[in-house]
Symmetry: C4
């Protein structure tokens, strides 16, 4: 890397991910994002806040400064500046620096903590272009084709939650912690998903019987989304394997079996 | 949509789901069902009940009126009126309006809340005819052919629950919360399904050992229903794919692409 | 059914399951077993014990009497009497009646409750010969071939439990409920299997971090037994489908593809 | 086995696992490891420590002595002594004896308990060469090829944990137990993995709503790692099966049984 790289070289380093310099740049940004997240997490710890809040504030401002420089640099290096600014990642990059500046003018900036946590989304961009590309593609295909089945499944789950929630509200009642249908539905979700916090539990025998049915149901129907995703994933993977197909050089018919001897369209010998 | 649609046009709008007018009608009913469910849920919340019970009551009566109009309309528009009234959805539609009217004459109408929750079933009718049809079909096929295996699985689970429930009742005893075999069986279900409320937990070393075995068992046998459903789903999907293959009548090579014009083995024209 | 069926006819009714009379006999035994289990379960309920213990005792003795008659009848009807008595089901049948008689002579018969619960095993015999036979066979095959993989998996799980249990004992210590390595291992099982009773929970930050790792691990590795069983089930099912194979009428070579035109051993045209 | 086996015979017994003598040696070591682990576990139990600590100490020293003899023997019998000493298992063998000797000089040896638990790793060596070899191989292949997908999945899970953890910290706040972002993230992991200890639970309606979403998410996305592993396992198994098929050199029909003598399509002798 020369001392003063050209603008096009800089753009390559910032936007591409294929040589050492650009990979190092990605790594630096990755470390900065992680550091800023760690600062946010540690600063929320009361004992650490009491002791080190000022140090965390300084670190936060240093990182915000660096992110600002990076953001301005990205705009400067972009060919289509507005395109970058209003792109998804452009907005994420902006959201990563805005909370710090706004907190200078506004009090009660607790809400900005969440926005800062969104910086994590920037990690996605970096990883996106790494070695996980192919896997992400297969997963995405499988999940996309499972979506209607999963929606159907979630609909069924919500119906069960609504009906059992209402039943438990009547069976157990407010005196046993099931203070409203909404509360009962919350309990039904906690139970059906096998989380089982135990903050509300059935007390009456009938409630326990009903709870047992819901638990067994939840235990059994977990099989359905798993089956859906697995089935789609197996399809997606085996289709990816099948992709190694032949194309006829005479009639250009593609997607022929790799073990074909004659073209299935024009009969040409391969 | 003309101002006064004909009766047959109205019947189309109400019973079919294939043009804009009928889809809008479905959407209105959907919103009304959702609104009535939200009213029931919010009205059960003590704090909201205290403040807004009258408002909820008015809303409930407006919606009941609309559902009544819809129900009478459906009867009027049906060709086979009795057929609709005694059909599954006809009864669900009636159940959606009856509780409100009954509550005028009967006190302690808490039980009607559940019946009102059944309105949710009306959503199923609307969705049933949407884009989820094909997915529902595949899921139904897979679940139907898994049914005997799942029943067998549930039988095994209940046997384990009965035996471990009895064992835990003897090992832990009433002094540790396992007050009866039924209670122990409830605990066994809570544990085996990995829900784990924590309202009853083993105290003695032997009870903890037994609990550990049940937990590991529950953790391992969850694999069985999942395996069953997945296996059936994969079969159902791949059978749907396999349905369309050709066989050469000369060389008898089977399993050729349905769009082939020449046999891939001997070059014979199909 | 004649009024006085012959002995061979009675033996058929008792031991076979293929006509109406024998199916009715099975059903009666099934109802009796279920009734006796319900009596045992209800009698263990303190409130019901106080009120109805005598009634339960009478019912128990009536059922024991009927089971005794059935047991003696089975011996009388067996061709190989000793063979039946010492067979698995013969012993189960005996265990179903012995506790009641022993309780006449022995005090503190709480342990007999478990033995009575074993009556449930008799249900297995009845169901075994019903319509679940084929499914049970496929499940058994799949589980048998998954066994070494599952054992390996359980070994890995126990290693994780031992190591994390020891680590948590040192990190959290007796003051936070992790009173011994055995207790920590119990906690590790509760956590890894995602049961999560909440009777013991990590208090220190390091303990919570370690617990997070174990939870994510448990969440991820549940995939392994599921994958194993599913994979084996898919194999077992597809192998069952493949069974429809041809046998050559000349050389008798079996297990040939159903689409073969020539025998793969002797070249005979099918 | 002669009274004084030769050195090469001893080396065979110690390092190989293929005849009776070497299998017995493995078994003895296995029992010794298990015994030493049981001693460590029981000694950590306060009530047993009070009564039997001296007995446990004596047992521990006897076992340490035997392990020491075994370790020295292994060095003596190795052809490449340094190779063994610095191999993975050589270090594990050394770690199995060192804590006991160090505890003579150092006080506060609680940390050595973990190192002693590492003795369990020695079991792996013994089992490794048993009948689980093939299964472990298939599992390893499947897990290796699932690794990038699983890493991607864990990354997604951690993103969800970070974002929901931050949201819950703001929604519920320190007064409801969500004392910091780190604590909230711990809670998010407990919830997403469906463990559900119940030591921290949402109190506010908004928190409960958010928790419900996370629980349903956790319940649904467990399907993804399961799908990944299952898909890979099925591939690995079916690829192992497919490896052995023939193709006819005349009619080019592929995928014929490996034991065929004549082509199943054209009758050509292979």
């Amino acid at each position: 890397m020369s001392l003063f790289p050209s603008k096009s070289r800089l753009a390559h380093i910032v936007f591409e991910h294929d040589d050492e310099a650009s990979k190092n740049f990605d790594l630096i940004i990755l470390v900065m994002i992680m550091a800023s997240l760690v600062v946010v997490i540690l600063d929320s710890e009361p004992s650490l806040y009491a002791k080190y809040h000022n140090e965390f504030l300084i670190l936060e401002w240093i990182l915000t400064g660096l992110f600002t420089v990076e953001y301005i640099g990205r705009i400067w290096l972009s060919k289509k500046k507005l395109g970058y600014i209003f792109s998804f990642y452009g907005i994420v990059d902006l959201l990563a620096i805005i909370p710090s500046y706004l907190s200078l003018f506004l009090v009660g900036t607790q809400f900005f903590v969440v926005i800062r946590a969104l910086r994590f989304l920037r990690v996605v961009r970096i990883l996106k272009l790494g070695r996980y590309m192919k896997e992400a593609e297969v997963l995405k295909t499988a999940l996309k084709s499972s979506r209607p089945k999963i929606q159907l499944f979630l609909g069924t789950v919500l119906t069960i939650v609504l009906i059992t929630g209402t039943l438990m509200f009547i069976v157990e009642g407010p005196e046993n912690g099931f203070t409203s249908i909404a509360m009962s539905m919350y309990w039904a979700i906690v139970t059906l998903t096998t989380v089982g916090f135990g903050d509300i539990t059935p007390i009456t025998p009938l409630g326990k019987l009903l709870a047992s049915v819901i638990m067994l149901l939840g235990y059994a129907i977990i099989a359905v989304p798993t089956g859906i995703v697995t089935s789609e994933l197996t399809m997606a993977s085996s289709q990816a394997l099948k992709k190694e197909r032949k194309t006829c050089r005479v009639c250009k018919t593609a997607n022929q079996d790799i073990d074909s001897i004659f073209c299935k369209s024009c009969g040409e010998r391969f």
